[in-house]
């Protein structure tokens, strides 16, 4: 691992996106998004449906390729299928990515093996403990409630201790307990200087957690600010103003 830069120590930005475009034929999903995040930043992206937030996350995580522009995540160019990039990122989306017929432990051991971690079993148990479900680690995922599944899914996403975490609408479908666990967990990751990018519809929750805020509209960032420069109380006003201006 000597050839890969340590993303926590390097002075380079954790994420550097320049003019990201996504189009197929004449239909454009993203029309040039540029931003940069330092290691340890927490960016919240708001925006109406169809703004291309999920597309942006998918491009930055390498799930889909951009049609223009460049992005560097953890020092690696996205879009050329570099597996070292995937080692540095974790993704939590609506889907849990867990096998219903396997137990929580078996699921996590499987993922630990896919990440080629040493002592996959120990690492899996540790990750389950972090989300507080060690009592049920031998139960089938299919018997878990949605909230508990999502907690195991968090453990799955961070099993390899990623330096950058992507969350796409992570709170949808979570019960109050589940979202509290998630919030606390994100907070602890934030204090550990992990870089976090989150899309959400929940304005107050997103404002509370992020330290940078973006509003995405029609495939562009209509707003990208440090939270400190914004009036937190009046953010809802600002959000709708930005969206109406964009139309």
């Amino acid at each position: 691992m000597t050839d890969s830069p340590d993303p926590l120590a390097s002075p380079d930005p954790a994420i550097q996106a320049t003019g990201i475009h996504k189009a197929f034929g004449v239909v454009q999903a993203l029309r040039g998004i540029s931003f940069s995040l330092d290691a340890g930043d927490f960016l919240t992206i708001f925006g109406p449906n169809g703004a291309g937030k999920t597309t942006l996350i998918k491009i930055l995580t390498g799930l889909t390729s951009a049609s223009g522009g460049t992005a560097k995540v953890a020092g690696f160019e996205v879009g050329n299928g570099d597996s070292r990039l995937r080692r540095e990122i974790g993704v939590i989306a609506h889907a849990t990515c867990l096998y219903a017929d396997l137990s929580a432990l078996e699921n996590l051991v499987f993922y630990a093996n896919m990440y080629n971690l040493e002592n996959p079993e120990d690492r899996a148990i540790e990750a389950i403990k972090e989300v507080g479900l060690e009592g049920r680690m031998h139960d089938r995922i299919g018997t878990f409630s949605r909230g508990m599944q999502q907690r195991i899914s968090i453990a799955r996403a961070v099993i390899h201790d990623p330096s950058i975490l992507f969350l796409d609408e992570p709170f949808t479908g979570l019960d109050p307990h589940g979202s509290r666990v998630l919030k606390e967990y994100l907070h602890s990751l934030h204090t550990k200087k992990r870089t976090i990018i989150m899309t959400t519809h929940d304005l107050s929750c997103g404002m509370e957690m992020g330290d940078k805020v973006a509003v995405q509209m029609k495939g562009r960032f209509a707003l990208f600010e440090n939270k400190d420069n914004l009036d937190t109380g009046g953010f809802e006003e600002l959000y709708f103003e930005t969206i109406n201006n964009g139309n």
Binding site: G81, G90, L98, D101, M114
Partner: protein, 226 residues
């Protein structure tokens, strides 16, 4: 162990553990294959037709129909809860995912086929034991070709709304060469011919296996991209 092999092993192991717990795939494939054979027996009069002539065809139709069910189910498992996305996000190479699924599909199908053989022997009253060696070689080569293209196409069709219907429609025309080859070879093996006497068919089947494993390696990246 090498990371690449370790990842393939993890996928195969995961599929086998799931199957050992649920036994869904094996039992449905097996029963389905038995039903196909029985329906064929009703539709051909075995007192007129020689078993060696229709037998190989019936056997392979049963294998392929049941195999298609297995392929459909195998990728459905990856689509539930978005598992495939989680798999793509891991550092694993896409071809490792393909080979993992190929090997577990191959194992499921071969096990099903081995359990079907004794039934076939009894129903059609043919002696397989005398020709078991060459027969297993033929079955392995044919099933490998079927799984090679089948795994690729089921990874593709699993994203379609009409996946159960589309997989056979996409798959069957493509596997015609391998079907003709294995049915001919099985018939000749049952007639007591040696494998050396059917080198053209063996060459064709191996060419099919290699071409479609190659095509899959080259294109799987484009299918597993969102």
């Amino acid at each position: 162990m090498h990371p690449y092999l370790n990842q393939i092993k993890a996928i195969v192991r995961k599929d086998l553990v799931t199957e050992l717990k649920t036994r869904e795939l094996f039992s449905s494939m097996f029963i389905f294959a038995v039903l196909v054979i029985i329906i064929f027996i009703f539709s051909v009069d075995l007192s007129i037709v020689k078993a060696n002539e229709v037998g190989p065809g019936v056997l392979w139709v049963a294998f392929l129909f049941a195999g298609t069910m297995g392929l459909n189910r195998s990728f459905m498992l990856e689509k539930e809860n978005g598992c495939l996305e989680g798999l793509i996000l891991t550092p694993a190479d896409r071809t490792a995912i393909y080979f993992g699924k190929l090997i577990s599909n191959l194992i499921f199908l071969l096990v099903m086929e081995i359990f079907i053989l004794p039934l076939f022997m009894i129903f059609f009253n043919v002696d397989l034991i005398a020709h078991l060696g060459p027969l297993l070689v033929v079955i392995f080569m044919g099933t490998l070709g079927f799984c090679a293209i089948g795994t690729l196409l089921s990874s593709l069709s699993s994203n379609l709304k009409t996946r159960e219907i589309m997989l056979p429609i996409l798959l069957y025309p493509l596997i015609v060469p391998v079907v003709i080859a294995v049915v001919k070879m099985t018939g000749q093996v049952l007639d007591g011919k040696s494998l050396g006497a059917m080198m053209n068919w063996i060459g064709l089947t191996l060419a099919f296996d290699i071409i479609y494993i190659g095509v899959s390696i080259l294109t799987i990246d484009h299918i597993l991209e969102e």
